[in-house]
Symmetry: none
Subunit: 198 residues, 4 copies
């Protein structure tokens, strides 16, 4: 591919990511073209269809996530890796309205072809989960469907309602406590001196 074409393709993807993050899936191709500073035709040269472009954005994003998950898979502390991954994804969702979609898809079609990015995502998350469970950091009875459901739900909400740092922390604390093995609730939502508990 020619240098300028590659450049423009990247510009389009970038713009699409920004505009999708801002407008959600109702973003218009024209808005993306405007944002990217290219003509309409340029977009259609690289992506045959609106659907294809949006898919590409999602796939790109997903690939980065998978890479991140893989990087964390080899981390020292499996539990920490698992929760950190969860946190990072949700954190990113505030800025990127496509993550929920990715996770939604990952949770949706478990029989998708092996080459599928949804499958990759599922697998990457599953590796993190299994390791965390083996390390005793996550309850044994947790299965992928509800994990993806939780991840997707958190992303959707964070994306839509623009969770700030505090809200994200507090909300995930609850979820994480639910994910830990019974009996262990190391974190409290209260500041140390809140002191209303008996």
């Amino acid at each position: 591919m020619r240098a300028d074409a590659r450049h423009n393709r990247a510009r389009v993807l970038e713009a699409a990511e920004v505009v999708l993050a801002r407008d959600g899936l109702s973003a218009s191709i024209r808005a993306i073209a405007r944002h990217a500073g290219v003509g309409l035709g340029t977009i259609y040269r690289h992506f045959p269809t609106q659907e294809a472009l949006y898919q590409a954005v999602i796939i790109e994003r997903a690939q980065r996530l998978v890479a991140e998950a893989d990087a964390l898979t080899v981390a020292d502390d499996p539990g920490r890796a698992f929760f950190e991954f969860f946190t990072r994804i949700v954190e990113n969702s505030t800025r990127n309205k496509t993550l929920a979609d990715i996770l939604t898809r990952a949770g949706l079609d478990p029989k998708a072809g092996t080459a599928d990015i949804s499958r990759d995502m599922r697998d990457a998350v599953e590796r993190l989960l299994v390791r965390a469970q083996e390390a005793g950091a996550v309850r044994e009875d947790l299965r992928m469907p509800e994990l993806l459901a939780l991840l997707g739900a958190a992303c959707m909400a964070a994306e839509r309602n623009q969770w700030d740092d505090e809200l994200r922390t507090r909300t995930l604390t609850i979820v994480f406590d639910g994910l830990r093995p019974t009996g262990r609730h190391p974190a409290s939502l209260l500041p140390p001196d809140f002191g209303s508990a008996p």
Copy 2:
């Protein structure tokens, strides 16, 4: 307002509720008019704008939710009331694509006027929460923002991904375990004989 006008307004609202529940916010005004058996103009007589109509539907729906919450507030078992409310809303979300929006709004603008329905919603949920906390069924350090965030997130995901009964149960089990006071995990996601824990 004339009797027939009042009647028509009700018909429109009813139809809008059904159609919005089915199609979500992408529902078209025309679809609602058709469903209501009235002309387009009739809708615009009562609601100046699509936005206004959808707001009205959401407000109406929210009022019913508030009523439901209030009914549960006087129930015998405050903990059970709290979790039942949570469950019911999420369950309904599969069929009604309005609920996530309502909760989203409730969580969003905490400084809205006192007369606002979001405020009512917040208050109703808060009453359920406080009673459940007083009864020791919900952790003390839980605050409204994260509760509404969790509720909204679950509704959004259930609506979008059409959670089935099993997925909903399993996912909410996690969340509820996170909501309970430390140390208490009465529910397990595993069938009794799963037995893989050491």
Copy 3:
């Protein structure tokens, strides 16, 4: 239907006929709207699709042709009626680029539903043909497929090349001579004093 709607529908059809006659099937909906002095939506209110509008124009035109054919069917001189019909259609084609289409269709799907206008057209032409054959004005061995082929061909060419009166007369003279029973060539293409015949 409301009076103004009926009026506008007629205006659209009229404009479509004019524009189609001028631009052929590549006419744009926008051009028709402009010509009719109505908005785009008005056209789509009456005709769900470009295809539907063009069909409607063709059907309307065809219905008029069928009526004309029927009127001629009861004429005194069946042979004259037959040739007059042929002539008139071709004559009209100069101004109307839809006729060839109509006849094309009539020739194409002989098994179309009974209620179809193509069928009506076929039948009307066939009645004219049979009467002319019974009167000995048209050769016995002529069948519908080639008759429609000839009619369609003449219309297409007249429409496309804008046959003037003289060209039409001379060309149809040839065709008509081919249509008459063997041995009868009453017409000559030459002016009386051309005098090259033996």
Copy 4:
């Protein structure tokens, strides 16, 4: 012109001919470039405009037709040559969507410059005609305008409606009977045993 440029020009023309034959005048420049295995720019280097390229194709095709006509002009039987030429062209029209256009043009501008291909075409056909008339195979009063009109009409219809062998034979029988001198109708459209004529 450089050798490779000349080569490419030929390739483009060839491809254009194939694609135009297949798709008619609605063929896209891109399709031709693809078929020729050259870039879009190459086409535009040799032909300033889509229109110009299509003209060139038509001229080339016409030249071959003229050659064919010329070959037949020296044939033994002038009448047979004339009718064979007519038949062949119509036959080809089913597969080649260019022919109708060529004949249309030939019939259209009788005052075009002498060097014009339309003129050549006209002349070639006229030679066939005159010889056939001199041989007594075609009526004396037939002139070029109506002959070209008939040829063009038949091609157009054959192209558009994809005349099969039988329909073409039957239709041309009529036309040819009209073209023959008065009193001679050697061919019948009926099978020998049809026997309904007196």
